[in-house]
Symmetry: C2
Subunit: 438 residues, 2 copies
């Protein structure tokens, strides 16, 4: 009889996925079960797991826990209150499992940013309709409690911008390129060797992972629908050691930033490598760390820095969500009812202002810089500095231009003209200079 | 009839204190009332305020809000669910009001660190007994959501240390002393001129405010009783420009840190100016900013930086607590029942290890450094560096010693012997070198 009461009182959890995050979550829940009972007033109990390879040797104890080969069965188990979806992937079984679990009135905890960025609205609507909760602290920033901060702590604020270093793989590669003065390929190999990058690194280095996370943050911060398709995305494969040297000399770090800012004319969301002033708190966030900076009209600037990935740090966030559920906390997945979320207007390119760093490769001969400067003048782009990087036996040299503030449409028009000059050897490359404003 | 239903559904708030924080809270609640209804599912309504000077001209609208001259009356109003105590002070009316409000079954939101540091246990016990909530996000770190982070987000972690820059006044004075190369008195005057320091600055510059905040953080992080009397406190009045010059040359910033760390042998809590390595995320947190760094066994290192004071930033935290209450969130004030909090053993001095920076003023003559080095050798304190700062027409010179790791008891024994040397002109001054470990 005691067991019966205990089991009714427990928060009964099913874990789908026993990979790095799933395994770490299971271990955390087992190791600290006494602590959860003390802090939540009731136990958190893992009743079932689902994973491939039932007979695989695993570094944790599954005694007393049911094992399902088919994750979807977790959605229909009557002895489960919460399904933790730690399988990953923006579609397929992860998607089906989350939808079906919510439809069955269960709560869902997930670390799945790809899923939320694209299906976050329908999942939230299902949670609202059937009375479950949808929690996703682990989806952005690993162990950094950024979702809760926006959705709960900053409710007294109108957030005007949110930006961050949202992908540890990119940040590690950028740190290596800066410190080792090597190229992208060498840094990527080192990241892969250490397990920080996948064999196919494109989701990370081409910016899609950061973009998924950014549109989740933007939706929460600005009360709009997550809109992955509205994020401008540039990867970091085009960066060279010249850029790191010049950035340093100019007083900047190069960081892969996701930035969302809210303007009267619309919402700007972008992921791209940026020049970040050494004075910015993001400039010194290195290696695999993540960081998020928010601007709120009451709180001012708030910065959170921590481990953005890794099994234990991400499990810390998953378990934080489970503790909230065990304590009976209830909050709309996006902070307010789905019906109140509006599709944000996209800020037009001509309204997107900024300063830019431009790298050109030009023939080392008289008159070239005058031609380039004339094009910029004709487009009314004001030059802050223009420097030729060294002279030597080569017939071409890099030229670095830093602009004053202009808008993106004008910049692209100028670059298109510059690209057509005979003396310009390759497509002009440009990097946004972060102003923490737009 | 509609009004009646609305009023039952609202979270009905009484504000005690209309100073900087109280006024900013009132304004935030009024300006964003639509947003709260959307995000909480019900309005947050200010039904009453209490303050001195009923007839005083104020920059906000009190129409429709009852005004009480006696704050204690708020505790007994039947139309109030939550009392926001924004009067301040560790005793007197603030204390009585919080106790009585909780005793009446109301919830209390407070920014009062002095009160919580000393009476936090009895207040939490009253909240538990009578069914109210006790919320105090605004008590530490102003707008930084550090209380919620420890009490909710990091529940999957055993926290091993928590430290931070907890007082904006101190941080501003230290920043000025470093940048302007002036003395403490000049920097203090500038802080007072800008409204960052009180006419009587002792609560800030002598470390008591930081100590109040630190023992609140330690109680939450380690699940122990807040124990203000167990915090070792040193102020920053003894710092001189020599210290800033030497710290910079050695690769450190000087920061006023509150540090709490948990060891098998006991809990160490201290507030003192420290040398912080330039590589630490705390080293570059300047001016009036606050920052808190936590180490958790799952999340690793987590750093939060933001505005530690000011009306709007602190009001942001107060309103975050009110939103939690409006959403029906319930959590024990210290994260677990009061009966589970234990009084932590204090780490004995001989177990408190660290590295130290020592500044001496000595007669500029042969043999002095040998005498000092011999005393350190006899106490088995290993010297990392020993440097005499300049030589000149003066008969005394500063000598700076940096030690390898030793324990605090040994250090103090050595300093007592050094102080007795005829060639040593004043009491030796020492600063802990932060290792983010103890």
């Amino acid at each position: 009889m005691t067991t019966q009461i205990q089991s009714e009182k427990s928060l009964r959890v099913a874990l789908a996925g026993l990979g790095t995050i799933g395994g770490a979550t299971l271990r955390l829940l087992q190791e600290k079960s006494d602590s959860f009972e003390q802090h939540c007033g009731r136990p958190i109990k893992i009743v079932a797991v689902a994973a491939k390879g039932r007979t695989r040797a695993r570094a944790f104890d599954l005694t007393g826990i049911d094992f399902e080969d088919d994750a979807l069965k977790l959605a229909f188990r009557e002895d489960v209150d919460v399904v933790c979806e730690l399988i990953g992937g923006g579609s397929g079984i992860a998607h089906t499992l989350c939808e079906e679990s919510l439809r069955q009135g269960k709560s869902v905890v997930t670390a799945n940013k790809a899923l939320l960025a694209v299906h976050g609205m329908t999942l939230a609507a299902l949670a609202e309709k059937h009375g479950g909760q949808l929690m996703f602290e682990a989806a952005v920033g690993g162990g950094i409690p950024i979702i809760k901060t926006i959705r709960e702590s900053l409710m007294g604020n109108a957030v005007t911008s949110v930006q961050g270093i949202l992908n540890g793989t990119c940040n590690y590669i950028l740190t290596r390129m800066r410190d080792d003065k090597g190229g992208f390929d060498v840094a990527l190999k080192e990241a892969q060797r250490l397990g920080y990058a996948e064999a196919d690194p494109s989701a990370d280095v081409d910016g899609h992972d950061s973009a998924h996370k950014l549109c989740i943050l933007a939706a929460l911060a600005f009360g709009c629908e997550p809109d992955f398709s509205a994020v401008s995305i540039e990867g970091l494969r085009q960066l060279t050691s010249v850029d790191f040297d010049c950035a340093r000399d100019l007083g900047y770090s190069i960081k892969m930033l996701g930035t969302a800012s809210f303007h009267e004319a619309g919402l700007a969301q972008r992921v791209c490598p940026c020049l970040v002033s050494h004075a910015s708190p993001l400039a010194s966030v290195d290696d695999v760390l993540n960081a998020i900076q928010l601007e709120g009209d009451a709180v001012g600037s708030l910065v959170l820095v921590g481990a953005g990935a890794g099994g234990k740090a991400t499990a810390s966030a998953v378990v934080g969500d489970l503790v909230d559920l065990a304590r009976g906390h209830k909050v709309n997945p996006w902070g307010c009812p789905v019906s109140d979320l509006k599709k944000a207007k996209i800020l037009p390119e001509k309204e997107r202002r900024g300063r830019w760093y431009i790298r050109l490769h030009v023939t080392d001969q008289a008159g070239v810089l005058a031609d380039i400067a004339a094009i910029l003048r004709d487009e009314a782009i004001s030059i802050e500095s223009l420097l030729q990087q060294g002279r030597g036996p080569k017939t071409s040299v890099p030229v670095i231009i830093v602009t004053h503030e202009t808008n993106e449409a004008t910049l692209h028009a100028a670059l298109a003209k510059i690209a057509k000059l005979d003396s310009v050897w390759e497509e002009p490359f440009c990097l946004r200079i972060d102003t923490n404003k737009d």
